[in-house]
Amino acid sequence: MRGDKVRLVVVLAVLIGALLALFWPSKGGWMSNIRLGLDIKGGARIEYLVEIEEGTENPTDVVDDVWTVLRNRLDAAGYTEASVKKVFRENKSYIVVEIPGATDTVQAEKLIGSTGVLYFAQVLDEYLGDDPTKVPELALEAKRENATWLRGRDGKWYLVKKEIMGRKDLVLEAPRIIYARPEVETRTGRYGYKVSFELAKEYVEKFKKITQALYVPEGTYDPKKRLAIVLDNVVQFAGQVVAIITDGKAEITGNFSLEEAKQLAAILRSGALPARLVKTSSGWVAPLLGRDVIDSSLKAGIIGIILVLAYMLVYYRAMGIVADLALIYNTILLLGVMAAGKFILTLPGIAGIILTIGTTVDGNVIIYERIKEEMRAGKPVRTSIAAGFDRSLSTILDANITTILTGLILYYFGTGTVKGFAITLIIGVLGSIFVNLVFSRLLLDALAPFLKTPKVVEEAQGGNKR
């Protein structure tokens, strides 16, 4: 059958893809491609002292705000499984950040370390050499213009001025940003990603004036009329204003890579920290669950799964083999996607996997019960299989779509742990739909001639008499 051939190719391709993601490139040890969470593997631990200025009215509020900003930044940059903790010691407040796996701590530290205030500024000049403040004429230029030389993320130096066009009423510091996200660049002649953002209402008017003041028609260039976004005293971005923005919705285009766009969006979105953070220590933390717990849980999990496999085999005989293979296939698929997507596996994630085992078995059971019903009604094996699949399709879709909807909502609203759980859940359920409808179908069709054995038919008819 043509359908079966297509299925076979798809099933094999997916399997090979998953195996590749799991085992290649192998850095040693099986499962080394799966990123494990703090609870299972431990990770990097960085402690910061929150420096609160004396006379601050509500110091606990400041610490709470720092916590929120850090949590948002980590979530926005994909570190959903990191933990952020407030620690108090001898009347001082600390923030402890723990990041699963220790591979990209440097990047994470950069993200956390962005402690300054976010503001918009005018670019007056740029310079490509070393520190321009040490070059007399450049230093003089800064003094004359009442501006400052700041380093840019791109390595260039920029002469920037907070008072845009010299106007005090155009200073825009620490604006609230409603959203900022990377978007695919669609205009011709450009490539990569851009960042779009929207300012809160109260800043719209001022931003409009700023863009009016700095506006240059597209195609022309005025080096003294550029807008800079500054955070941490680093020019995050500098570019021409090619449109007057009246509604606070703007785009930053610069042929960014996805990673750059994501980071810029995260910085815009999370704003500036309300206090200075001083790194007091860094190091690592062992698995939070403890090795003994992990070992015994792993053993228990394997025993559980073997029992499930055995049960299906005993109850459904030949079809049980298909169910078991489907279960194994889906587990490989899920782990493969976790590895490829660099998702982090934690205990709550394992909860998601167990639910997946449930839904995979369930999908198979729904199909088999239908097939049995069809066989009991006296239909031939092949027809029964086809009818069984057709008639269970809507049940399987309804049951799984509701779960996926729940997962998407949890992902959208949740933070940290909840987000992580939602990811495993969604991947697992999508996988189980694929496995049930494509993989199982393929195997059952292949198995059809054997299902005709008198025993099975008898069993099916026996069910009728019972």
């Binding site: 220590s281 933390v285 909860a351 998601g352 085992i357 078995v361 049951a399």
Partner: protein
């Protein structure tokens, strides 16, 4: 003909059982409350430093168990800071209790005496999960319920959606009641178990609703009690097989996994049973009552 179990005939009894279980749960939740883990309540972190020692988590647990009960169930994790010499071992002991200064002093002395290590810091820590889970999770649950209601109303009927949501609330309330009654700790993993249970319970309900819908079309005009009974019987083998297999995994986990995983396994085990029960005995009576 296969023998049909008369589910609907006994629905009064089962509704009563459910109501009693819910009542017990609610009473326990309000009087006894929950045993929240350190991720929710916050607590204290004691960092102990050992030099030239090959001390393990188990040794520490054994020693500090003599000091107090809450220390016995603390979370002990090895930590290492950049720049620590190789022969130095540091452990972080986290316990869900905040101590008074005198108590701190006493505990510090006892730990140093029992373990001959040095307490380098005694911190008060916030619950990491509390804020994470507070933020957004309630909104998420409310939005999810509305979306599910809409989806089920479109695909089935409004009343099927209502029944599914009542079943969800039923399952979560009773499972939470069990947590309260048995004093199992509610930690992040337990929350994951609750979320999983929602998905599971829903799955079960949808499969049954699907069959009822189909049979309503096929046997138009037939008594609804009859149709629901027939539908439950038709999906019974599937319900039992699916529940049993999920139950096997989580029950083995409950029996053999370590303490930190127990709350999760417990939640899943109770949830599987309650979730199965509710789709058979809670959802169907509601549908019957409303479509009559």
């Amino acid at each position: 003909m296969r023998r049909e179990i008369d589910f609907m005939g006994k629905s009064r009894i089962f509704i009563t059982i459910s109501l009693i279980l819910i009542a017990i749960s609610v009473v326990s939740i309000f009087t006894k409350g929950f045993n929240f883990g350190v991720e929710f309540t916050g607590g204290s972190e004691i960092v102990v430093r050992f030099e030239n020692k090959s001390i393990t988590e188990a040794d520490i647990r054994k020693a500090i168990s003599q000091i107090s009960e809450e220390l016995a169930s603390s979370r002990i994790v090895q930590v290492r800071s950049a720049g620590d010499p190789a022969n130095v071992l540091k452990y972080s002991i986290v316990v869900s209790k905040i101590y008074e200064p005198e108590e701190k002093q006493k505990i510090q002395e006892e730990i140093e005496h029992l373990l001959s290590g040095k307490v380098v810091s005694f911190n008060e820590i916030s619950g990491t999960a509390a804020e994470e889970i507070k933020r957004g999770t309630w909104t998420a649950i409310l939005v999810a319920l509305v979306v599910l209601l809409i989806y089920i109303t479109i695909r089935f009927r409004f009343i099927f959606g209502v029944a599914a949501i009542i079943a969800l609330v039923h399952d979560v309330l009773i499972t939470m009641g069990f947590f309260s009654i048995f004093g199992y700790e509610i930690n992040v993993a337990a929350v994951a178990a609750f979320l999983t249970l929602l998905g599971y319970s829903l799955n079960d309900t949808i499969v049954l609703s699907d069959r009822i819908r189909e049979n309503m079309k096929r046997y138009r005009g037939r008594n609804i009690v009859n149709i629901v009974n027939m539908s439950i019987n038709q999906v019974l083998a599937r319900t039992i097989n699916t529940s049993l297999t999920t139950f096997l995994v989580v029950f083995v986990l409950l029996l053999f996994a370590g303490n930190a995983v127990k709350p999760f396994a417990f939640g899943m085990t109770v949830g599987t049973v309650v979730g199965t029960y509710s789709s058979l005995y809670v959802v169907s009576p509601i549908i019957v009552k409303w479509t009559k």
